[in-house]
Amino acid sequence: MTTPIEDFRFGPFVASVVWLLFWVLIIVTVIVLPLIFVILFYVPLPLVNGEVLTPYLFLSMVIDPTRTLPILNFLIYTEFFRVAVFPGFMYAALIAAATIFIERKFLARMQLRVGPSHAGREALGTGFEGLFQLVADGLKLVSKEIIIPAGADKPIFWAAPIAFVAVAAAVVCLIPVAPGWVVSNIDVGLIVAFAIFGFFPLIEVLFSWASNSKYPFIGGLRALHQLIAFEIPFILSALSVVILSGSLNLTEITYAQSSYWFILFLPISAFVFFMSSLAELERIPFDLPEAESEIVAGWLTETSGMIYGLIQLGTYVKLYALAALFVVLFLGGWMGPQIFPDQLGPPGEKPPLLQLLTLDGLYHGPTANAIFWFTAKTFLMIHLMLLIRGINPRIRIDILLHTGWYKLIVLSFINMFIALALIYGGVLGPGGLLTPN
């Protein structure tokens, strides 16, 4: 019953592959390699262990295990690594990817189904089926055509998704993941975070206007209403944390919770912050700007291909940023019992291969512990957000605005007064009963 694919010959196929390889080799030797050397000519090479890190040395170090660790040790303390990899974008994107996978599997579990089940079924045993679904989705989105509606404002239409991801990633810079591991440790970190969040409604309205369509326009206006209505309780609820910790620096806020998490004193603020961050994320029950049964897909209606992919990436990076901000503000950041050993492997001098395996000189127990606890708490928050998504319907815009402007603001004020009472009653604050010395 199967019909063979017509006009398939093995010879031409091999010929085409060889032809491709030929061109790749030509391009590499003629263009790429000279380019690399030209760049290396101008770039000052760094010193690693007293040696200049030339490409030859780099390659020999990569091959020789005993000389790999110094390179890594050098690399992870560069500014570029912080911005691009660890506390910065790649870490956030990795958590975002994990969130998508967990979201699909977790919701599927709650809804008595399996979730993504075919991509990556044979990869890591049957327990991890659907692991590569995100890769498949990403490839699909990349390969799709980007359709720009007629009469769209093209520069804004192209710029808005990129701005969305950039702004979401900008929040990530401020999050301290472990002691000393933060991209930019500034004194007004909290205010900067809120200032950056203030850009999102602007981007959404710009994009919805640029789409030149009715449904995105309604969605954009809804987003504007919603985000502005929830911005105020959002900031007010964080303000009580500032009152208790006496600092706007996120690292110092974390250190202030070394004995007590602020959620013990500020449960109402934590609740308000959580609800506001759900609204900020436009997740169910606050996904009015994207309400599909009312306004098709809201402000995302005209997105297609990688534009949609970028906005989704930005949304999930934002999800990570907000969950992490909640952890920093209320759940004590990276604080947690020490469960990692000070050193991996047996003590004393080790053979070179074991040195590499145990990350000798690179591994630092308290930092690993901090990263672990921070990531675990962040995932706890993400799970909570997913649970809320699984059990609730969408609410209507007037109820939403009412909730934002009346109820949540009042609630956050109540907790702020509690915080003030704790400070002036001598319970917390400088010289208080519960203040750690």
């Binding site: 019909t3 709650m110 008595l112 399996v114």
Partner: protein, 169 residues
């Protein structure tokens, strides 16, 4: 206010409870449902059908008389049945014509089975009929005579942890 809170608590409880309940998904290509009987059949003497799944037909060449009643029954419904010449010699089938069924048109109502008075045309529980071309969906009398092998063995089982699909014991 208290009803709102209790409503939320109940909702969260119900949602998180389902994280522990068995999944109901029926994984089709790996699992196949077990059906009642061998397929829909009809007893012309009593004028009543016999319960079974209505999949593709099975034609008994030794009983078909070429009376065209099935084609007439199908005329106003799907027009899927056409009578074709077969290269066989049967005493009861002088014209040597037998039904040929186009499954691109058939709606699986089974009224052709009801029309057959000679126990020649039944339905089977074979429903996996997909083909690459439309021509492959037309089943000749010789193809219809083949008894399909269908290995469905999964049924809905209800336990304490919810319902799911499991092989019948």
């Amino acid at each position: 206010m208290s009803s709102t809170a209790s409503g939320f608590i109940k909702t969260i409880e119900s949602g998180s409870k389902h994280l522990l309940i068995k999944r109901f998904t029926f994984r089709y290509p790996e699992e196949k449902l077990k059906f009642v009987g061998d397929g829909y059949q009809f007893d012309p003497k009593r004028g009543v059908g016999i319960a079974g799944y209505r999949g593709r037909h099975i034609l008994f060449h030794d009983k078909c008389t070429g009376c065209q009643l099935c084609a007439i029954a199908c005329e106003g419904i799907a027009e899927a049945i056409g009578m074709v010449k077969v290269d066989e010699q049967w005493k009861h089938n002088k014209k040597a014509i037998m039904p040929q069924i186009d499954y691109g048109k058939c709606v699986f109502c089974g009224l052709c089975v009801d029309a057959c008075p000679f126990y020649a045309l039944y339905m089977t529980d074979d429903y996996e009929l997909s083909a690459f071309t439309k021509e492959h969906l037309i089943y000749t009398p010789a193809q219809l005579a083949v008894k399909p092998k269908y290995g469905g063995e999964v049924q809905i089982k209800i336990g304490k942890m919810g319902a799911n699909h499991r092989p019948a014991e």
